[in-house]
Symmetry: C2
Subunit: 368 residues, 2 copies
């Protein structure tokens, strides 16, 4: 498929779209009904640059669901099987969100601003509607809304160098998945050490659309000698690093345990969370299929735009849902869901791509 994307208001622009366009974005995806660039120079060129320099990413599509009010903390704990009792303001937690059957509805990052104020920085599903529905059904005393907050990520080995120039040296004190408030042009913004790459970096939760382009421009300006460039989550790099993508590698048919997120489920102690009954069983027995790194041998694979069956001896034993040629590892890197009978590292399998059957091997760990 090589087709154009039709613009409309429904595919929302972001506070940084002007910068993204000026930087020459060549392709987009739609994520949370908003535009997310996918390619600037080329996926491979963007990949090498991300691993060696620093990029500014418009990740406004990570919309926030804000919970505010006396029942905010109670609701937040109800939404996830991860035990949040030890979580402090200033921390970010990766939290699986499941429905009553234990099926994944989203895999967001919870940002605890205060005891009675949280942001849920979401993956690609209208989690706002789930949270509002639950809160309304239970008549909780909480406001649930999408604030005017648009994350801007600074990713790559030179991210810290760039960030200190704009936000000062104290930004280096931030530990992974911690955040602080940092000032820019007279306004305070949440800055976290986080991001959807394995190259290190930060996410700035830009509050107020009007602050978008000034922030973008300031970072571009300050990083000129660091070879800063506009970028975006990179398909190859995120597969190498084993970063899952909701909607691609998992959906509401999967439990967190199938996604390898069992360590984020404290189902015994997360009393009152949605899906607890279903997950208690899974957490004891373990899943019967699970996410695995899949190395696909042979030629570069085409775009993975639909699940590719994983076969053994004529029987389907799983599916590949993300794949790309990796220049650094000189092989096709992939993410798949594989049945227990075949998920052991070293198992050889057949992957059926639209281009034909390619031999593949289950790996122990992701590449990076």
């Amino acid at each position: 498929m090589s087709a154009l994307i039709s613009p409309s208001r429904r595919l929302r622009r972001t506070p940084f779209s002007e910068g993204v366009e000026a930087a020459g974005a060549k392709a987009y995806t739609v994520y949370n009904r908003m535009l997310l660039p996918t390619v600037f120079r080329s996926v491979e060129e963007d990949y090498h640059h991300l691993k060696s320099a620093v990029q500014i990413w418009d990740v406004s599509v990570e919309r926030q669901v804000e919970l505010r009010g006396p029942d905010a903390g109670r609701l937040m704990q109800m939404l996830t099987p991860r035990d949040l009792r030890g979580m402090l303001p200033g921390q970010c937690y990766y939290v699986p969100i499941v429905d009553e059957t234990g099926g994944m509805l989203n895999d967001p990052v919870a940002v605890k601003l205060a005891e009675d104020r949280w942001w849920i920085s979401i993956a690609d599903s209208d989690l706002l509607l789930w949270v509002k529905g639950v809160a309304w059904g239970l008549r909780l005393d909480v406001l649930v809304d999408e604030p005017d907050v648009s994350p801007l990520a600074v990713q790559g080995p030179k991210a810290e160098a760039l960030m200190t120039r704009v936000f000062g040296d104290s930004v280096t004190d931030l530990r992974f998945f911690r955040f602080g408030w940092f000032e820019f042009e007279g306004r305070s913004h949440v800055v976290a050490r986080s991001g959807y790459s394995k190259q290190g970096g930060f996410e700035i939760y830009v509050e107020g659309s009007d602050a978008g382009m000034p922030m973008w421009n300031a970072l571009m300006e300050a990083g000129r000698d660091l070879d800063v460039h506009a970028g975006c989550p990179n398909l190859i790099e995120r597969i190498e690093g084993g970063l899952l993508s909701y909607g691609n590698d998992m959906d509401k048919n999967n439990t967190p345990h199938e996604c390898g997120l069992g360590r984020f489920c404290n189902t015994e102690t997360a009393i009152g969370c949605v899906g607890r009954d279903a997950l208690l069983r899974v957490s004891r027995e373990g899943p019967v299929r699970q996410i695995r790194p899949i190395e696909i041998h042979g030629d570069a694979v085409p775009s993975c735009d639909r699940p590719w069956p994983i076969m053994d001896d004529g029987e389907q034993v799983g599916q590949v849902t993300s794949a790309a040629w990796s220049p650094d590892f000189d092989v096709n890197v992939g993410i798949g869901m594989v049945r227990m009978t075949h998920w052991k590292a070293g198992t050889d399998l057949d992957v059926v791509t639209p281009a034909g059957v390619q031999v593949a091997t289950v790996r122990e760990v992701f590449w990076n």
Copy 2:
């Protein structure tokens, strides 16, 4: 913006994608995280053809939310301010769905299959999550899920001629917004007289993805001498006809009354519906802004990919959210939300497009 769309599993293909691709779809949008073609030959050529012949549309993106069980009817009434007490199995109702503040969450079509089984054929938001959240919060005795049902629309003046060839003469007995069960290759499918155009036609709720391409091919085959062609909702035609688009012309900031959907709100009698308190007030006082047909004079406007301010004497009094050049009416047709002070038919206003300021006039009724 002239950019490519990046394929991934997350942007779901449909049971008819193979046919859509073979027919030469040139551009897509993403709707309910699924691909929706937007152009085949050209938007104008598709438009003339839709108005003169018959088209097959892949509208799988109209996903179904199925409610099934003892509380299905109670939940359905809770979801909408439209009074559903007189609705019979075999009927389709256009139902505004609002949150507790009366803000539009979706504007779907409810399909009553039986007293205890409903489909909600949704516009572009994950209504499934809202319905599941409400049902879970209230501990209702109902199953809520997305079934494997993908609508295929047959639209245009020759739609009836084509449909009778595949489903028999009895399909002509269907009245507007009524449905029946019709057999195709040994399986029964819901067929309704409905569709997102003003040219007349039907929607086939194709059950089972495996039935997709056989159905597509049978319709294409049967309609060869009727000049049948693959098509899709047409931007120009739908604006001329005043068909609103959720996410474009309205969103959760708007009440049904602002969208001109007050006639579908029986807030007095729809006891127990979400948002009743908020809407009772609006229904008595009326909205302070409302959807209006906007005729934009001058040159053909660019793509409306963001709200265009409507100005009068330096003050913003509304916004245009959909617009296109109409070959048949020889003017730019538009849909806008206009403040009460300026919504009277005949009022002249300025519309600020990225191409400049163009004079516009509020119309009494849509073009078609």
